[in-house]
């Protein structure tokens, strides 16, 4: 009995540690006072100021664009990588391939950022592309480090999936490409969505790699936040943070409801198929 008590205390402490800062952040975004931690009454004026901050809005638009493109690219490449790792058995270079997929997961961002910048500079000298640094280089950089996360998500979904469905289709004479698009892809679709959202979030969150590979005129939202946070805290950032938390929470909620519904539907279909057969 005593141990259960300790465990629930530990759990509550952990959740408090995780959530109290976020709750405080949101609370102070409605603070009238410019001094963030001194309560001066309820106000939504910081949200209004946010909408008039053109530099911030431009950076947000740029970040969303980079995140959408790089998440899409990394889902395509990550799905290929996940398929290769879990369905293709042994092939030449598999160890190197596996290493290149897992290493970016833990690689310190400063190393990734510096090494990609040096690559872009060297490529520009050699072949004249990429011409300067900007949206293209940030997108490539983000695709590179988010691709690993997508590959891991897809790989674990493929490992948990019943391989006999694919085998059955293959036995019935479907070509590998058809098996993939008709059988595998619909089954791993939730993992694709999860992988895309993960890549999108990671891209939207990155300040270090983007700082290295961005050029003049391509400032992302985290770069704007980072430079203003360095000068101290401001209620405008609190308001922006609240909006970001709200968007993420809504997105996660919708995604999990949709996925749960699809999961139930799939189980029902499987049940019907078994009963029908």
């Amino acid at each position: 009995m005593k141990r259960i008590g300790f465990l629930s205390w530990a759990l509550w402490f952990g959740y408090a540690f995780l959530y109290v800062p976020i709750v405080l952040l949101i609370t102070y975004s409605f603070n009238e006072s410019r001094l963030v931690t001194v309560w001066g009454g309820f106000s939504t004026k910081w949200y209004g100021e946010l909408l008039n901050n053109e530099a911030l809005l431009a950076a947000t638009a740029l970040s969303l664009r980079v995140a959408a493109v790089s998440a899409t690219l990394s889902v395509i490449l990550g799905t290929c990588a996940g398929m290769a790792m879990s369905r293709f058995g042994r092939f030449r270079g598999r160890t190197l391939f596996g290493g290149m997929i897992t290493a970016p997961l833990v690689m310190p961002e400063v190393i990734t950022g510096l090494s990609l910048l040096l690559l872009f500079v060297a490529m520009e000298q050699l072949i004249g592309w990429p011409d300067g640094r900007g949206v293209t280089t940030i997108t490539i950089a983000h695709t590179t480090f988010t691709l690993s996360y997508v590959a891991v998500v897809i790989q674990s979904r493929l490992a948990g999936m019943d391989g006999s469905l694919e085998e059955a289709a293959m036995d019935l004479g479907a070509r590998p490409a058809k098996v993939f698009f008709v059988i595998t892809l619909p089954i791993i679709a939730p993992a694709l969505v999860a992988g895309w959202l993960l890549a999108f979030t990671l891209s939207l969150d990155d300040v270090v790699v983007a700082s290295f590979v961005s050029g003049p005129g391509s400032t992302t939202l985290p770069m704007v936040i980072f430079s203003s946070v360095k000068f101290g805290i401001s209620p405008q950032i609190n308001a922006l943070a609240t909006l970001m938390v709200l968007v993420v929470a809504t997105g996660i909620f919708v995604a999990s409801v949709v996925m749960a519904r699809q999961d139930r539907q799939r189980k029902r279909d499987e049940q019907m198929a078994i009963q029908g057969g």
Binding site: C80, A103, P108
Partner: protein, 309 residues
């Protein structure tokens, strides 16, 4: 007909090759090759030019005989500077220390959490885990920012301590090593809980029952049964926290003081403030050398886990 079949099978084979080749070439070009370039430039000399480093490879024309020779210049001064200057050595040691403390704090908070969730009612495990992962989806920068308001002088903790009368004036925790420990533990906690939970959840509960039946006390059963069985999770979680934490930049920059030396900060300053790309490359290579063993252990653990599934 057979022609069509063989063409299609060839296409299938080609398709298989393309599926491997696309991500493989991408990672080769944008992940592996960059390291070789960093390694190369770490031997270069810093010059005032665009880009600010001297080329390693050049053609040397001999005026008398008219022959050209390939010249490769390797410059070791960057590494000599790294080993000769106390600043770099201190930054390395301090980074490892801060990463170790962060890992231990994550383990101390994360293990009981993962254990409690794994022991919870199966229907409640999903939502409980979701609550652990959810903060990970909100911006890392924003979460660090939240702690500035809490830890600063006249911030939430400071006001609370003053209000309760524990301290008589404002307290500043911000801009110290402790602020960095708190911020990093906060950010990396989900990475520790996830692998711990997945090993603890898989554990067979009858093992503990058997131990109890044989008269083993709960604490001893935990130490001799649960803890060794959860070791893979502990190792994976610790590496997921430790490796990126050593090279961390944002947290020490925003929460740490000017004397909170970390290697990620040193690299950043060499690159952005001093514009010394070769030294920054040398710092990156040295950082990789510190991390190469933990990264290889991580690879091994990941690979083994993938094979078990």
């Amino acid at each position: 007909m057979s022609g069509v079949v063989s063409a299609l099978s060839r296409l299938g084979l080609w398709g298989r090759g393309a599926v491997i080749a696309m991500p493989f070439l991408w990672l080769l070009l944008f992940f592996l090759v960059p390291f070789l370039i960093v390694f190369g430039i770490s031997f270069s000399e810093s010059i005032v030019a665009q880009p600010p480093y001297a080329p390693l490879v050049g053609w040397l024309t001999d005026e008398e005989s008219g022959t050209t020779k390939l010249q490769i210049l390797l410059n070791l001064t960057n590494y000599l500077r790294l080993t000769g200057d106390d600043l770099y050595i201190l930054a390395y040691l301090n980074s490892v220390k801060i990463a170790l403390v962060t890992t231990l704090l994550c383990l101390a908070i994360g293990y009981p959490m993962a254990y409690a969730i794994a022991k919870a009612d199966p229907a409640r495990r999903g939502p409980l885990m979701m609550l652990v992962i959810l903060p990970f989806w909100t911006s890392f920068l924003i979460r660090i920012y939240a702690w500035i308001g809490i830890l600063k002088s006249n911030g939430v903790i400071s006001n609370l301590l003053e209000w309760t009368g524990i301290t008589s004036g404002p307290v500043e925790i911000l801009y110290s090593d402790w602020a960095v420990y708190i911020g990093m533990t906060y950010c990396y906690l989900p990475f520790m809980v996830l692998p711990l939970y997945s090993t603890l959840e898989k554990m067979d509960p009858t093992l503990l029952e058997a131990a109890a039946d044989l008269g083993c006390r709960p604490l001893k059963a935990f130490l001799t049964v649960t803890l060794p069985l959860s070791l893979p999770g502990i190792i994976a979680g610790s590496l997921l926290v430790f490796i990126p934490a050593v090279g961390e930049f944002v947290t020490p920059e925003l929460l740490g003081g000017p004397d909170t030396l970390m290697i990620g900060r040193v690299l950043w300053n060499e690159f952005f403030a001093n514009r010394d790309w070769p030294v920054a490359s040398g710092v990156a290579i040295a950082l990789l050398l510190v991390l190469v063993v933990p990264i290889m252990i991580f690879q091994y653990v990941q690979g083994r886990e993938a094979e078990e599934r």
